[in-house]
């Protein structure tokens, strides 16, 4: 299949996640900065999304029959670009343009810049509401496509997220799959200390959602959760709450003082790549 997801066939999900992490570290090195800890943390979620769950055509990113994947968290663009490169939506050689002038890969994700980027994120708390509108629109068109919205635990502070959560429950949007990356870190510190959004499972249940909470760095658990979200017949929007570890896969960064914007010294990028390569899945 010339246009099947992923430009390299027969690769395990664990290897996809590893390759996504590698892309992210290489982009981080280009700029000497970036939301690398988030990208490493969410890589498994993106691997399962793009190489197990989503239907799409890499060379036709606006194909009407695709599942829509919205990145509400604009600063996670480095992570999504890494996945889109691995999926063959973006060419590998553009990786080195990340965050540069005239690049199609700006630091914060925008729909007008990047093939495969469905919405402009960054002003947080927007994605879930747009997803509600798209899910309603897809139902109007009798489409079988799903809308996925990847958002962060920090976005749970935004009132607009809960407006959208209530609307999705009220309209029983069973074609909407929310994915929350709970890495428990936002700009001012640990998310639950900045504003305690727990307990999340009963909150979303009370808003009328089908809720699953999994280890977001456990690929088998993610596959099972995404399968349930896609194949369940309950007339409810679905949410997969993913508890992830910041900087996952690069132990010396995992252990660094936890910070929203992880500090990485110039010489550490090569070291991070080397550490990743040592841990390449068999």
């Amino acid at each position: 299949m010339a246009d099947a997801p992923g430009h390299i066939p027969n690769v395990s999900l664990a290897e996809r996640a590893w390759r996504i992490r590698r892309n992210a570290v290489r982009m981080g090195e280009v700029q000497g900065q970036g939301y690398i800890a988030q990208a490493l943390g969410v890589a498994d979620v993106l691997a399962v999304s793009y190489f197990h769950a989503l239907t799409y055509r890499p060379h036709e990113p606006e194909w009407e029959g695709r599942d829509r994947f919205l990145l509400s968290i604009g600063h996670y663009a480095i992570a999504l670009y890494s996945a889109l490169i691995e999926a063959g939506v973006l060419p590998d050689d553009e990786l080195e343009t990340y965050g540069g002038d005239d690049s199609r890969l700006p630091m914060s994700g925008m729909a007008a810049y990047t093939p495969g980027m469905e919405i402009t994120g960054g002003s947080l708390g927007h994605g879930l509401g747009i997803a509600v509108g798209m899910a309603l629109g897809l139902k109007r068109k009798q489409s079988k496509s799903f809308v996925y919205n990847l958002f962060s635990d920090g976005e749970l502070d935004e009132g607009s997220t809960w407006e959208a959560a209530m609307a999705a429950g009220s309209y029983r949007l069973d074609n909407l799959i929310g994915i929350v990356d709970v890495n428990n870190m936002q700009a001012d510190g640990p998310s639950t200390q900045v504003m305690n959004f727990e307990p999340l499972v009963p909150k979303f249940e009370a808003f009328g959602w089908h809720v699953q909470r999994v280890n977001g760095n456990d690929i088998a658990a993610l596959v099972a959760a995404f399968d349930t979200a896609r194949h369940s017949t309950v007339a409810k929007p679905r949410i997969v709450i993913c508890d992830t570890k910041m900087a996952k896969g690069v132990p010396f960064l995992e252990e660094r003082e936890r910070n929203h914007f992880l500090r990485v010294e110039p010489e550490e990028w090569a070291r991070a790549l080397a550490v990743l390569d040592e841990g390449r899945p068999a």
Binding site: M110, A111, A112, E118, I119, T120, G122, S123, G125, H126, L128, G129, I130, A131, V132, G133, M134, A135, L136, G137, L138, R140, K141, G159, S160, E163, A164, M166, A167, S170
Partner: protein, 344 residues
């Protein structure tokens, strides 16, 4: 300055006070004068008519369909109507999502809520993407006596800085009916100020037709040029008739599209020699049509013999009866006529 809340109303303190006391009109009351011709819900009916040939049109509201005349559309096309509850942010985001899927949403609420509450969502989810969402908002400027919570005196000032957004301020029912298909045909986001309920019918008598982006001379005159938008154009036309008795010859240039501004027509009319230019708007004196026209004249080196503004003060306005408030803040026909005479 507002009177202290610890003082009783003055008329209760005056022995033997009586006479007629105006009441705060209901939120949904018409702005029409007692002897004005009107049409009911022109926006709702025009949208229903347009939707017959435009299956992409859908309606979205935040618990204000009845108060924005969208209920007419909701009744005609229940499956094309989305009630989002009293939640303006998700209403706008939903409209953005529907537009992304190829639909043309008309999203309605009050002007205060769209401008003050949903701004970032309109800016990022709609305007930045140049999506086809038409935001149609009731209670523009001073059209309710409920006080600042409902008086959108600065909505145009808020929205003028938003790239890609077209801003329309129609005058009457005739213009609203024509503006609905015009803004639907326009590619990109539009903010339209809406008069709802029984809306005055004025411009049909002048053989006027709405064109998006065009300012038009409604009547000629040699002494004064009133440049106006929205309901102030009907006030300007009434004032112009009254001023005939004082031999003051008033021209009225109606500017229903605030952005992009028809600078060519404005420059041409303001450059005609000898006429005082008065900009009249149902909006704060800050950031509206008046400042837009003044800046354009300065940029183009056009200097009329005098430049005046009839606009709402830069203040939180009072609650009360609408006719009282329009007199108090200078936008009634009486107040406008008096101001113009004083400037001559």
């Amino acid at each position: 300055m507002r009177r202290s809340k610890y003082l009783r109303p003055a008329h209760l303190e005056n022995a033997g006070a009586g006479g007629v006391r105006l009441k705060t009109s209901a939120m949904i009351a018409s702005i029409a004068g007692p002897d004005q011709r009107t049409k009911p819900a022109p926006f709702g009916h025009a949208l229903v008519e347009l939707a017959k040939t435009r299956p992409d049109i859908v309606g979205v509201t935040a618990d204000l369909s009845k108060y924005t005349d969208l209920h007419v559309f909701a009744k005609a096309y229940p499956d094309r109507f989305y009630q989002m509850g009293m939640a303006e942010q998700v209403m706008i985001s939903t409209a953005a999502g529907l537009a992304r899927e190829g639909f043309t949403p008309f999203a309605t609420t009050y002007a205060v809520f769209a401008s003050r509450r949903a701004y970032d969502f309109i800016f990022m989810a709609i305007a930045e993407e140049n999506l086809d969402v038409k935001i149609v908002c009731a209670l523009p400027g001073l059209t309710t006596g409920y006080g600042p919570s409902h008086q959108a005196t600065e909505d145009i000032a808020i929205f003028r800085g938003m790239p890609n957004l077209t801003i329309v301020d129609p005058c009457d029912a005739h213009e609203i009916e024509q503006a609905v298909p015009a803004i639907a045909a326009h590619k990109g986001p539009v903010y339209m100020r809406l008069l709802r309920g029984n809306v005055p019918l004025v411009l049909d008598e002048y053989g006027y037709s709405f064109e998006l982006g065009k300012a038009k001379i409604i009547r000629g005159g040699n002494d004064v040029l009133i440049v106006s938008s929205g309901l102030m154009t009907m006030r300007a036309l009434e004032a112009a008739k009254r001023l005939e008795a004082d031999s003051i010859d008033v021209a009225v240039l109606h500017v229903p599209t605030i952005k992009p501004l028809d600078v060519e027509t404005i420059r041409r009319e303001c450059a005609k020699t000898g006429r005082m230019v008065i900009v009249a708007e149902n909006h704060s004196i800050v950031g509206g049509l008046g400042e837009a026209v003044a800046a354009e004249l300065m940029r183009s080196g056009i200097h009329p013999p005098a430049f005046r503004q009839i606009a709402l003060p830069d203040a939180f306005l009072d609650a009360g009866a609408l006719p009282t408030l329009h007199d108090r803040y200078g936008i009634s026909t009486d107040a406008m006529t008096t101001s113009i005479k004083g400037w001559m």
